[in-house]
Symmetry: C2
Subunit: 189 residues, 2 copies
């Protein structure tokens, strides 16, 4: 399929890149670019990262396997889908299965890919992949990382919606994955 008649917002010339701070989750990069509209040079921030992944995991009994934990950005506990970073050399499916097992102890089941999203194309260079795992089973105790303290909650869809209303389930990447499996909102009339 060609799109030769597409509108084009203009090609930004990349003048140079420089590395910034190496942070816990990101390698900072600055790109110096030229705006095609006014020829001005601008410095743009890019937070380089590996891809992320999360998973909507559903037990044989229909429970949704969620994790509750303190999140340091917002400074309070949230309820989210299990997930994490795709390690180098790992597929997003392997990463999703690994994170699900480490964080919750659940494994197995039938897996299908729900697609990927950009966490923020303005300054992130990576994707977040969404997976669906049906009929997962509890296979062992969770083994959270040294920087995690997690409560596993197997929830009904009603309980998920209740946490959305309470404001503890507002993470857009968790909602993005859940929203591809369950109807989360009623559309405006």
């Amino acid at each position: 399929m060609t799109h030769g008649d597409d509108p084009v917002a203009g090609r930004w010339e990349l003048l140079r890149s420089e590395s910034g701070e190496e942070m816990p989750l990101f390698q900072v990069r600055y790109d110096w670019v030229r705006n095609p509209r006014n020829r001005r040079e601008m410095r743009r921030l890019v937070l380089e990262s590996l891809d992320w992944v999360n998973v909507v995991a559903i037990t044989r009994e229909g429970g949704i396997v969620m994790v509750q934990q303190h999140r340091f950005g917002v400074g309070r506990e949230t309820v989210e889908t299990p997930g994490g970073m795709v390690d180098a050399g790992e597929t997003s499916r392997d990463a999703a299965a690994r994170e699900l097992l480490e964080e919750t102890g659940y494994a197995g089941g039938a897996w299908s890919y729900l697609g990927a999203v950009e966490p923020n194309p303005a300054f992130h260079d990576h994707l977040c992949h969404h997976w669906l795992a049906r009929d997962v089973e509890l296979t062992r105790e969770p083994e959270p990382g040294p920087g995690e303290s997690i409560v596993v909650r197997v929830m009904t869809l009603g309980e998920v919606r209740e946490e959305m209303k309470r404001g503890r389930l507002q993470h857009v990447l968790a909602l993005s994955a859940l929203g591809r499996v369950f109807p989360l909102w009623s559309f405006p009339g």
Copy 2:
């Protein structure tokens, strides 16, 4: 409503905070915290920011007002809902109306709040507010900022879905707003 019997993942003690780099979009902060599960001290990254906002703007004729622009994180053009940052002292609605006008020239109409999401509670401290504006009208030429080069596209829902399939509309915050107004996905059977 009380939630006294809630599971609790544990209270992380904040030991100290230190300011990091001031970046174009964020003020970096590092929080030193103690994991309640294993008592280990960890350094956690927080990217402090003002809130963000975006808007699903629909014309009287039913067109969806979208913006196409080069995004520096992913290094290519994307198609998104109009939006930006809520300035200090501004309401999220005022910010949404301002960004819509600056980026597209559209204004007016009937506005309703769609809710807010956390862009990422793990390291962001802020929210992104979603607005719906119906019956907006083209009132003037767009006035993009010096760092922007934007093509305005008034699209049908079918065209929006086509850009999703092509991978140019993958920004999770844009999809989050659109997904509260339109059915974007068919649920797995």
